[in-house]
């Protein structure tokens, strides 16, 4: 099968809307299709990776653990915008998985290199 570079651009907070979770379903399928998958987290999307999500109170299925499982699918390219983290008072230590923290401009360069950009 042809391999293309897919990047999922995540810009929305988790739980307030379903986009973050349904984006993750796309990531898993893209990985199953053995594509070159990367994820970018910008703006409120960085909140998706925040450690310690306890969704019992809102009765919505939590998906923090799924980030940890991405490695099993060979999805290891996770890029987080430094400016978005800092603006929100977060650092890489607050995130549930190891990520590469890049400037927005550098993420912009990575976007240029993709074949397909899926935005959520």
């Amino acid at each position: 099968m042809t391999t293309k570079k897919f990047m999922m651009v995540n810009r929305k907070a988790p739980y307030g809307t379903i986009y973050a979770w349904e984006a993750l379903e796309v990531v898993l399928i893209a990985a199953a299709f053995e594509q070159d998958v990367s994820l970018a987290f910008l703006d409120d999307g960085v909140y998706q990776l925040k450690k310690g999500q306890q969704t019992k109170g809102i009765e919505i299925k939590g998906f923090e653990k799924t980030w940890g499982a991405l490695e099993d699918y060979d999805v290891t390219q996770l890029y987080v915008a430094r400016e978005s983290l800092e603006e929100r008072g977060l650092s890489a230590e607050d995130l549930t998985v190891p990520v590469e923290v890049l400037s927005r401009a550098d993420i912009g360069k990575l976007m240029e290199e993709q074949d397909v950009l899926l935005s959520f």
Partner: protein
């Protein structure tokens, strides 16, 4: 009156719009709870408004987002029962959608 805000202050103008009404009670729910969190660029604005507005934030939404332990001092966490009380105690409520 009660202002209910469910939008992140980092993406939307809902918090600014509610603050511009002058004074009252604000309840942060859903993605609005990001306004209740310490350490971010919006903290200063919220702290500056604590005199004019009494702030509450929904516990279930804070916990879902992993932020239960980072609430700005002066903002009161409430559960859904507390949400009902806030609506009952205030004659009107405006949801800043």
């Amino acid at each position: 009156m009660l202002h209910i805000i469910n939008k992140s202050p980092y993406d939307r103008c809902a918090v600014d719009s509610a603050l511009a009404t002058g004074a009252g009670v604000i309840l942060l729910i859903e993605d609005g709870v990001y306004a209740a969190v310490k350490g971010g660029a919006e903290e200063k604005k919220i702290k500056g408004a604590l005199g004019r507005f009494k702030f509450y934030a929904l516990i279930a939404d804070l916990e879902a987002r992993g932020l239960g332990d980072r609430v700005i001092d002066g903002i009161t966490p409430v559960d859904y029962a507390g949400f009902v009380d806030l609506v009952a105690e205030n004659k009107t409520c405006q949801s800043w959608l």
